[in-house]
């Protein structure tokens, strides 16, 4: 018995030595020669459509490895804890080579904090003419500094449960052709739904920052408020129009401020039929609701989901844009930076771009690749329908300084509004407090 035990322990020890050697390709000395290209890189990706799905991503990276001989080790992050992971890893000087996310993180946060590689040299004149202007400018911190190469983009929207709307007689308030509605129609629809179901039909979720693009767009659009000033130098939540919207939402029976859930939970509750509308919605969700793989545009029990622009007084919404692409983390190793650049070029600026875009369920951030028009979705009716929303894309303000802290202040503010007595004074005070906090971070 004792012998077996000691052998087992010895084996564990040896195994431990192996375990010590896992994970970091950088530890391998023969890959460090500058000028060379590394044989392996790591990519950390957020769940951007199917870029969060191992099988899909593997096909893409296998194609890259086949062409370049560079292996790609992929880690899948989540929105709930991905930022914390990246932050601890960067603090621990153990970041990946590539991160796939949007300018709000890659440019405004990790880029501004000095952790990313300037990849401005990857954009030549053709690229600049082919890439969507808004996406391009969001990827640049200033004229000469770019921390992200954009791949895809979309407009965030709302989702509604059409069957429930019909049952409650609320479908008269929506236009399923233009996918728009006014603030008044939205209010009437919620009232009709509440009369029918007698419970919360939509939630201003605020347990954390997950999915906050939805709550931001909802509040800003209702009465035409803004999130930041046009120059992206200050946060403007204390705008009377925003306060009016927050109060209207507070007063509207059927809409609840819910500090126990985030966007992901909201989507799930919507998918499971508990909520009749979701504020955290986009084309990828429409294609594959709740990432459950149970069919495009359908809830769990088969109700039809219609995507909608956010309601606004004139019915013309300013939608929140989402831009996603790749950034390179500065690990002070030229070989790995070179390899990472090859990866970006392969995915976002080559004949493989169409596949990379398709995997995301979003729209390409560029119209053409090296002069050849990019056709990704022409045969997909849902995507074609969704393009109706794209002209409503509003200001991409997520690159305002102090963005990470401002996002945190935003959900804290919503929590405070939700827990207040709902009076205008209380709401104004809460907004003022957190807006000041956000602006302190923007200095």
């Amino acid at each position: 018995m004792k012998k077996i035990l000691s052998i087992a322990i010895a084996l564990l020890m040896i195994a431990g030595v192996f375990a010590c050697n896992t994970g970091k390709p950088a530890d391998n000395p023969d890959q460090g020669n500058s000028g060379d290209t590394a044989k392996e890189i790591t990519l950390w990706t957020y769940p951007i459509g199917n870029w969060g799905d191992e099988a899909t991503v593997k096909t893409l990276t296998d194609a890259f490895t086949a062409e370049t001989g560079i292996a790609v080790k992929v880690e899948y992050l989540t929105y709930a804890d991905g930022d914390d992971k990246v932050n601890t890893a960067l603090t621990g000087k153990a970041g990946p080579d590539l991160i796939m996310e949007g300018p709000e993180r890659l440019v405004a946060n990790w880029g501004a904090n000095g952790y990313m590689v300037n990849i401005a040299d990857m954009f030549d004149a053709t690229d600049k003419s082919e890439i969507n202007a808004a996406a391009l400018s969001a990827c640049f911190a200033d004229d000469k500094t770019a921390y992200e190469y954009p791949l895809v983009m979309t407009a965030h929207c709302m989702g509604i449960n059409l069957n429930a709307f019909k049952e409650a007689g609320a479908d008269q308030y929506i236009n399923t052709d233009t996918h728009t509605w006014t603030t008044e129609q939205f209010t009437n629809a919620v009232k009709a739904l509440y009369a029918k179901y007698g419970d919360t039909v939509g939630a201003v979720f605020c347990n954390g920052q997950g999915g906050d693009q939805g709550t931001r767009a909802l509040v800003n659009n209702l009465y035409g408020g803004t999130f930041t000033n046009a120059e992206h130098t200050a946060y403007t939540w204390d705008d009377a129009k925003n306060i009016q919207a927050l109060k209207a939402l507070y007063d509207l029976e059927g809409i609840a401020y819910d500090a126990s859930i985030v966007g992901g939970d909201e989507i799930a509750n919507f998918y499971n039929g508990i909520f009749k509308m979701a504020f955290c919605w986009n084309i990828a969700q429409q294609q594959n609701p709740n990432s459950a793989g149970t069919g495009a545009g359908k809830t769990a029990n088969g109700d039809e989901i219609v995507f909608m622009a956010f309601p606004s007084q004139d019915g013309k919404a300013q939608l929140q844009g989402g831009i996603w692409g790749f950034g390179i983390v500065n690990n002070n190793d030229n070989a790995r930076i070179e390899a990472a650049k090859k990866f970006i070029k392969f995915m976002a600026d080559s004949e493989h771009t169409a596949d990379a875009v398709r995997a995301s369920n979003f729209f390409a951030a560029r119209s053409a690749v090296e002069g050849k028009a990019l056709d990704v979705w022409s045969s997909d009716p849902i995507m074609a329908e969704y393009t109706k929303l794209m002209p409503m894309l509003g200001d991409y303000y997520q690159v305002t300084k102090g963005w990470a802290a401002a996002r945190t202040a935003w959900w804290n503010m919503l929590q405070k509004v939700g827990a207040s007595d709902g009076s205008e004074a209380a709401i104004s005070a809460a907004v003022a407090e957190y807006c000041t906090q956000a602006n302190d971070g923007a200095k």
Partner: protein, 293 residues
């Protein structure tokens, strides 16, 4: 002793307290019960607003789903790949066992020295250990992350093991046990010409065996469940532990409760089995440590 009755205690009090106790027991068992039954329920049943107390339709879907996610190498960088959950399990067992062995060896030696050796700075050192015992690990979060990364251990299972071993509760516990060793026995060993190390292995160790046993189980369970250290030190999928794996799964797909239950069961059931197997030693060990303390 068991047969002696407390005359004063009324029968009514006993019956009522027994009923209350049973209700409490139900509440304490419930989470585990729900995990184990939830593992076999289809998604619709789990998310239904009316709880389904017993699975009406049994499914293995959650378990197959759990094992079809995110592949990882079986060990190190081996080319044999296994489902992520299997690798998490291997990592967790490895971590808990290593932490247990290292803690038991170092703590029993240190505890013995603190209890029986009259060396310079003994009181000071002991006070330091006692003071550090209650310190939440969050206090040293940032410096620890920086230090671990300077050692090149970030995102490595040893980054969790070492700080666990450094936590001085084990030393405190073993000191309490070692206090009970009669000085004459140590003196006798010395007169017989036994070396210090030999005295430790042949006189001290047998006497503090129950303590070592208790500390072993204690460390094993604690390290298995020490979510925070795992959270800040481990990032890549192939280095995750099972607790961290479930937390990630929950973040990724907060509503697939069936899948999460299957993961929770995978995390909880093995450790419960270990506990049930060794609970006699465990109970004995922790009580002895306390009574001496």
């Amino acid at each position: 002793m068991k047969k002696s009755k407390d005359n004063g205690q009324s029968v009514a009090y006993r019956i009522i307290s027994f009923i209350v106790l049973l209700v409490l027991a139900l509440i304490f068992i419930f989470p585990l019960y729900w995990i184990v039954t939830g593992m076999f329920k289809p998604p619709a049943a789990i998310n239904s607003p009316t709880p389904q107390w017993w699975p009406q339709e049994w499914t293995l879907r959650n378990i197959t789903e759990l094992f079809s996610r995110r592949t990882a190498p079986l060990f190190g960088n081996l080319s044999i790949t296994v489902p992520g959950a299997v690798r998490w399990m291997i990592n967790t067992v490895f971590m808990a066992v290593m932490a247990m062995i290292l803690t038991c060896v170092t703590a029993s030696m240190a505890g013995y020295a603190l209890a029986k050796k009259r060396f310079f700075g003994r009181t000071l050192l002991f006070s330091l250990i006692v003071a550090a015992m209650a310190l939440p690990k969050q206090v040293i979060l940032v410096p620890l992350v920086r230090e671990i990364s300077a050692l090149g251990l970030y995102d490595n299972i040893w980054a969790v093991i070492f700080p666990t071993v450094g936590w001085p509760f084990g030393v405190f516990l073993m000191k309490q046990f070692a206090e009970g060793i009669p000085g004459e026995m140590l003196e006798a060993a010395r007169i017989d010409g036994a070396s210090e190390l030999r005295t430790f292995t042949s006189v001290v160790t047998p006497m503090i065996k129950p303590g070592i046993g208790a500390l072993a189980i204690f460390t094993f369970i604690n390290s298995w469940n020490d979510y925070f250290m795992q959270l800040i030190m481990l990032t890549s999928n192939s280095n995750l532990t099972i607790s961290l794996g479930i937390a990630t799964m929950q973040a990724e797909n907060s509503t697939d409760f069936g899948l999460i239950m299957a993961g929770a069961a995978l995390a909880a059931v093995p450790i419960i089995i270990v506990f049930l197997l060794f609970q006699k030693y465990f109970t004995k060990g922790i009580t002895m440590g306390a009574v001496k303390g």
